[in-house]
C-alpha cells in the first residue's frame, strides 16, 4: 500500500535573484499552505572585499572607493569617511562646504526615497503608478547630472570640504527643479495615502511591532514607521542640520504602508531643507585643497543615509592608507528585522515586505 500522507510544511527558496530589487538576497522560507512559518536569511552573495581594498588605498582614493560601495546611498559613504578623517585631523570644514554637503545629501535622499516607493508600486502590480513615480524621480536624476555631472555618484565630497561648488546657474537650475518636483511628490503622497490598490496590499502587512523594532535596533524609515523617533540629523546634528527645518515624521502603523508614507513625507521635507539651504548658502571657500594632513588616530562618524544611520570607524597610522576602515550600514539591523516582519505573512507578500526595508545588499555585504 502507498502512503498518502502529505507533509504539511514545505521549505521554499526565495532568491537569490530578483526578490524585490535586482540585488541578491536569499531566504529559505518554511511555509504551511500560503503562510510563512520560519525564515532563514542567507547572506554573502555580493561580498567584494571592499573593507580590505580600503586598507590598500590612500584616504584620497578611498573617498571614491567608498562612494562606489552602493549606488543609492553613494553620497553618505564618502561623507561619513570624510567626517571621520576630519575628526582625526581636527580639520575645520568651511561653512559654505557644510551647506553644500547637506544639499548633496538631501538631493540623494529625495531620489532614493522616490525610487523605493516606485518599486513598491511595481511590486503591488500597479505599473502605471510605478512608471509615474520613476518619471518624477527623473527630475531629481537630471538635477544631479546638471549640478554634479553624474546621475548616481555625485563626487560631492573631499577631505575638508566639498569638491563641487554651486554657481548662480546651478542654484537657479536647482530651484526650478525643486519647484517642478514638489507638487509631483505631494501628489504621489496623496495617491499612496488614498489609492485602494496600494492600501489593500500594504496596510497591516509586514508588521514590526514597537518592541521588536527596539529589540532589532532598526534605524531609518523602518524605525520611524514603528514609532521610534530617531534620526541622526536631529539626535546628533552634523554639518549645519541644527539650523535647518528637519522634520522627523513618526508613524505607529508598523507596516509596509507606514514605511512608504515616512519616505514620502521625508522626501517633501528634504525639498524644504534644500530650499532653505539655497536661501542661506553663505559665500566663502569650499575646501582647502582637499588633501589635509591626517595624523595617526581613530574616529567614529555618523550620518543619516536615506536608509538610516550609517556609522563609520576609521583608524589611521603613519601610512597614507588607513589601518582599518569599517562601517555599519542601516540595512544590517533592518535586514535582521525581516524575520519578524515575514513571520505569519503570505508568500505573495514576501517581495513587498523585503522592499519595505529598502534593502541595500551591496552596502551590507560589501
Amino acid at each position: 500500500m502507498t502512503d498518502h500522507t502529505v507533509a504539511c510544511s514545505y521549505k521554499i527558496p526565495v532568491g537569490p535573484l530578483h526578490v524585490a530589487l535586482e540585488e541578491p538576497m536569499y531566504f529559505r522560507v518554511a511555509v504551511k499552505g500560503e503562510t510563512i512559518e520560519t525564515v532563514e536569511l542567507n547572506a554573502g552573495h555580493v561580498h567584494r572585499g571592499v573593507e580590505y581594498l580600503a586598507t590598500k588605498r590612500t584616504l584620497l582614493q578611498n573617498m571614491i572607493l567608498t562612494e562606489r560601495i552602493c549606488s543609492l546611498c553613494s553620497n553618505s559613504h564618502p561623507e561619513a569617511l570624510a567626517m571621520a578623517a576630519e575628526t582625526i585631523g581636527a580639520v575645520e570644514v568651511p561653512e559654505r562646504a557644510q551647506y553644500l554637503r547637506v544639499i548633496a545629501g538631501e538631493v540623494k535622499r529625495v531620489a532614493s526615497h522616490l525610487f523605493n516607493v516606485g518599486i513598491l508600486a511595481h511590486l503591488v502590480g500597479y505599473e502605471a503608478l510605478f512608471m509615474h513615480a520613476m518619471q518624477v524621480r527623473e527630475v531629481a536624476q537630471d538635477l544631479k547630472e546638471a549640478v554634479y555631472g553624474n546621475r548616481m555618484d555625485l563626487g560631492a565630497h573631499c577631505l575638508g570640504g566639498t569638491r563641487c561648488d554651486m554657481d548662480d546657474e546651478a542654484i537657479t537650475y536647482m530651484r526650478s527643479a525643486l519647484d517642478k518636483l514638489e507638487p509631483d511628490v505631494r501628489e504621489l503622497e496623496k495617491t499612496y495615502r488614498t489609492n485602494g490598490s496600494i492600501l489593500r496590499r500594504t496596510r497591516g502587512i509586514g508588521i514590526l511591532s514597537h518592541a521588536d523594532a527596539i529589540a532589532c535596533g532598526v534605524v531609518g524609515p523602518v524605525a520611524r514607521a514603528s514609532g521610534i523617533q530617531y534620526d541622526v540629523r536631529t539626535a546628533a546634528p552634523y554639518h549645519v542640520y541644527d539650523r535647518l527645518p528637519v522634520n522627523v515624521p513618526v508613524l505607529d502603523g508598523c507596516d509596509v504602508w507606514s514605511r512608504a508614507m515616512i519616505r514620502l513625507s521625508e522626501a517633501v521635507n528634504s525639498i524644504e531643507i534644500l530650499r532653505v539651504c539655497l536661501d542661506q548658502l553663505p559665500e566663502g571657500p569650499i575646501n582647502d585643497g582637499g588633501d589635509p594632513y591626517i595624523p595617526p588616530g581613530q574616529a567614529i562618524a555618523r550620518t543619516e543615509a536615506p536608509r538610516g544611520e550609517l556609522v563609520y570607524y576609521l583608524k589611521t597610522n603613519d601610512n597614507p592608507e588607513p589601518e582599518r576602515l569599517k562601517w555599519r550600514v542601516p540595512s544590517y539591523p533592518n535586514w535582521d528585522a525581516l524575520t519578524f516582519m515575514l513571520k505569519e505573512a503570505k508568500v505573495a507578500d514576501i517581495a513587498i515586505i523585503v522592499n519595505s526595508i529598502d534593502p541595500c545588499i551591496s552596502c551590507t555585504e560589501r
Binding site: R57, T58, L60, Q61, E138, V147, G149, N150, D153, N195
Partner: protein, 165 residues
C-alpha cells in the same frame, strides 16, 4: 491622482525618453565624461596617478620623455585627477561615447608626452614640464619660458639668482 488626466498629459507632452541613437542625447554642461590630458600645462607632479582609485592613470619614463596614459576602460569618471591637478592639465570632457569593438580596447587611451630635451644651461637631459604656478608668481612671459626649459637643478639656481638680483 487622476490617472486619466495623467495619461492625457503623457499623451500630449510625451514621450519622456530620448530618441537616442537616432538623435543626439542631451548632455549636461557639467557632465563628467572622458578624460582629456594636456601635456603643455602638466608639471609632472604625478598627483593624478596617486589619487586615481582605479589605477587608470600611469606615467612611464621613456626615451621620448614622461609619457602619460589614461585607460578609458579602467577609468571610473570620478574626476579625482581633475580635482587634485594643480595646473588644470587634466580634465573631464562632456564626451560619454565610449562604446567600442573588442579589437579597439587597447587604443581606448588618452595619451600625452612631456618631451625630454637638453637643459640649455647644463646640457643634461631634462623634462619640458610646465613651471609650477606657485614658483613663477610675478614672472614675465619670457622669464617663464626661460625657466621652463631648465632642468630641476638649474631651475633652483635660476630662482636663487633671480632672488638675489
Amino acid at each position: 491622482m487622476n490617472f486619466l488626466q495623467l495619461f492625457a498629459h503623457n499623451l500630449t507632452q510625451g514621450p519622456f525618453t530620448d530618441p537616442f541613437p537616432f538623435q543626439p542625447a542631451p548632455t549636461a554642461k557639467r557632465f563628467r565624461g572622458k578624460i582629456e590630458f594636456d601635456p603643455e600645462t602638466c608639471e609632472g607632479c604625478r598627483k593624478c596617478e596617486k589619487v586615481c582609485p582605479a589605477g587608470a592613470i600611469r606615467f612611464t619614463k621613456t626615451d621620448k620623455g614622461l609619457e602619460f596614459d589614461c585607460w578609458h576602460d579602467s577609468c571610473v569618471f570620478c574626476g579625482n585627477c581633475e580635482f587634485h591637478c594643480p595646473t588644470n592639465a587634466i580634465h573631464q570632457t562632456q564626451d560619454w561615447h565610449l562604446a567600442h569593438v573588442q579589437q579597439d580596447k587597447y587604443s581606448m587611451v588618452a595619451h600625452g608626452v612631456i618631451p625630454s630635451h637638453e637643459c640649455p644651461s647644463c646640457g643634461k637631459p631634462a623634462l619640458f614640464t610646465a613651471a609650477p604656478a606657485n614658483k613663477v608668481k610675478g614672472f614675465s612671459e619670457a622669464e617663464i619660458a626661460e625657466f621652463r626649459a631648465l632642468c630641476p637643478k638649474c631651475r633652483g639656481k635660476y630662482l636663487r639668482d633671480r632672488k638675489s638680483r
